[in-house]
């Protein structure tokens, strides 16, 4: 039974996406409740899958009982199940928030469409993580591209359209590069299954090295483009800024990470670390990551639009993950995985608490935070915790992430990155702290005398409180998460 659960999850998400328009006709509230229950179900089953996979062994599922060289194969290993758990958790939290925040630019006829896209996107993300087949991965990637772009342009406003256009265009170039890489790999091995490919890649390296070079370069660059690794980040700030806050949260916290996870899967499972490093690609990624850490923060500092600022901050944080990955060591990978989860929680908390600010003030400007800390204390406190996590103050998960990265960087003798980490943290402090100061330490010019606590729907407050607490929890007991990550790495 438990080996069928991954497929049941997928099918349930897909069915929900299809059903939303029909159930909506009966009652929109019912749709929301049903979706929530479904997500809880998916979450619980993901937990069971993880426990099963960790204790018993990988779940391998063949569609239609074809052999793996012919048919599509799903392989649920600890890596996939941990990150589906991560995706599911954040998706549920953001879903709850989105059910409260009905104003942000989406008009009511679009609500149901929003949820169709949301569930489709979740379906594709689960699919990517489970899938053990490259072409299947490509198809899921395309589904994510389309749904995530649509989730941006769902607002009936002007700005999202050009942003979404650029996003789709670049994403499509990225996807085609990825497909081109798959073609190159298929040419030498005749397989699309990741395990089978890995077996033939060494013999392919001796016969047709140029193919493998093209495959590595095109797939890496294609995924970098989609994951917004530094020089390819140009679409991200626009796209994330103009989207509704819930969309920005899921895009920045989860979707971007999925591509990095695919890249990790490719490097570790298909090409192998030695091959990848022998082409100098680790150096390339290190440079990209290091440059991103600093440039992302510098760009973020100059922004006047709060959500663009958060978008650039994501670029910088992706740099941290890429550096961890590019070290090509277990320690580096640990730090990358930890940072993926830590940043997912933190960035979701930031975008959602900013969402409350937008809900209240209908403006995205960095200015105008004066006295907000007393109007929406909970939201600004969570914003503060998340900002401290970004800066790397101890007791937050961001500190542990930085600590891990620092240790990993040293073990690879890349001492210069210690300086890069510190400079990037300082730059982070330079743009997050003034906002916090304004919120808590300046008086609002409009309400000099009495500042009342504004009423925010509980469905919006609860998720960010959970996110804030989990940032602290992981910051204080990182080993809860570290054990899981170690398990993943041991079995990867």
């Amino acid at each position: 039974m438990i080996s069928q659960l991954p497929i049941i999850n997928l099918v349930a998400l897909l069915l929900m996406a299809i059903m939303v328009p029909f159930i909506k006709k009966i009652s929109f509230r019912a749709t929301l409740w049903l979706g929530g229950i479904l997500l809880i179900g998916v979450l619980v089953s993901s937990v069971f899958i993880f426990i099963h996979v960790a204790n018993v062994g990988d779940i391998i599922y063949h569609f239609g009982d074809y052999e793996s060289f012919l048919g599509i194969e799903f392989k649920v290993d600890p890596f996939a199940s941990l990150f589906t758990l991560f995706v599911g958790t954040l998706a549920f939290i953001i879903y709850v928030y989105s059910s409260g925040d009905k104003t942000e630019g989406i008009e009511s006829p679009e609500f149901s469409r929003y949820y169709v896209l949301y569930f489709l996107m979740l379906f594709a993300m689960f699919g990517i993580l489970y899938s053990n087949d490259l072409f299947n991965t490509y198809v899921f990637i395309e589904i994510i591209s389309l749904t995530s772009c649509a989730i941006i342009s769902i607002k009936r406003k002007k700005e999202p359209y050009p942003a979404a256009f650029r996003y789709v265009l670049l994403n499509e170039i990225g996807s085609l590069s990825f497909l081109f890489g798959i073609a190159m790999l298929y040419m030498i091995s005749g397989h699309l299954n990741i395990d089978l490919l890995a077996n033939t890649i060494q013999s392919g390296w001796t016969t047709l090295p140029i193919n493998i070079i093209f495959a590595i370069v095109f797939m890496t660059v294609g995924l970098s483009l989609k994951a917004a690794i530094f020089p390819f980040h140009i679409w991200l700030p626009d796209a994330h800024a103009s989207a509704p806050s819930t969309s920005s949260a899921i895009l920045s916290a989860v979707v971007v990470k999925i591509y990095i996870l695919v890249l990790i899967k490719l490097i570790l499972k298909v090409f192998g670390v030695e091959l990848f490093a022998s082409l100098g690609m680790d150096t390339v990624l290190l440079i990209f990551g290091g440059a991103g850490m600093i440039m992302g923060s510098i760009f973020a500092m100059t922004q006047k639009d709060l959500k663009r600022m958060l978008g650039y901050s994501s670029v910088s944080q992706i740099g941290y993950i890429v550096v961890g990955l590019a070290l090509m060591s277990d320690l580096g990978l640990r730090s990358a995985f930890f940072h993926i989860i830590s940043h997912g929680l933190t960035k979701a908390a930031l975008f959602l608490s900013v969402g409350i600010v937008i809900y209240l003030k209908k403006s995205r400007s960095v200015k105008g935070f004066e006295g907000l800390g007393f109007q929406i204390p909970i939201a600004m406190t969570v914003f503060g915790i998340a900002a401290f996590s970004m800066i790397g103050i101890p007791l937050t998960s961001g500190f542990i992430a930085k600590w891990n990265l620092g240790i990993a960087v040293e073990s690879a003798s890349q001492y210069i990155f210690l300086g890069v980490i510190v400079i990037s943290s300082l730059l982070n402090a330079m743009y997050y702290l003034p906002i916090l100061f304004a919120a808590f330490l300046k008086d609002n010019p409009e309400h000099q005398e009495k500042v009342s606590i504004e009423k925010i729907p509980a469905a919006m407050l609860l998720p960010i409180v959970v996110l804030g607490l989990s940032i602290l929890l992981i910051g204080i007991y990182p080993n809860l998460l570290m054990q899981l990550i170690d398990l993943v790495i041991a079995r990867l």
Binding site: F165, L169, F180, A183, K304
Partner: protein, 127 residues
């Protein structure tokens, strides 16, 4: 002559790669959004062609079993099947992009990227 022979042998692959580059060139150099979409499609076609070329076997027949065949050489059917999916994806992306272009034209009144950028820069006041 050797080089020429190799070119002729690999003409399918080279054609695919050439289409890819042509498409990319279109995307990069043209500012018209519709042309960019066309470029993307050309790129996609290039990759698809490349993929199908892998499956091709010299002198192979379509992989359909007929009565009385003896040791038939079939063309690899898997790439073609995959590319069918790819084409579907490509079509949906194109449709989505085109619909976005319509929206852009409705709201901004232009589909030229440079003009669009200028309009957007004017609309966002510098603080």
């Amino acid at each position: 002559m050797n080089i020429l022979e190799r070119i002729v042998e690999n003409i399918n692959y080279l054609g695919g790669a050439a289409l890819f580059l042509i498409g990319l060139h279109t995307v990069v150099t043209h500012t018209n959004l519709i042309k960019k979409i066309i470029g993307i499609n050309i790129m996609g076609t290039g990759v698809f062609l490349f993929f199908i070329a892998i499956g091709n076997i010299e002198g192979g027949t379509p992989p359909i079993w007929l009565e009385g065949m003896e040791n038939p050489i079939f063309v690899n059917p898997v790439p073609s099947a995959l590319i069918l999916t790819g084409i579907v994806v490509s079509v949906s992306v194109t449709v989505y992009l085109l619909s976005l272009v319509i929206r852009i034209f409705q709201t901004y009144g232009t589909i030229d990227q440079k003009e669009l950028a200028e309009i957007m820069e004017q609309e966002v006041p510098h603080d």
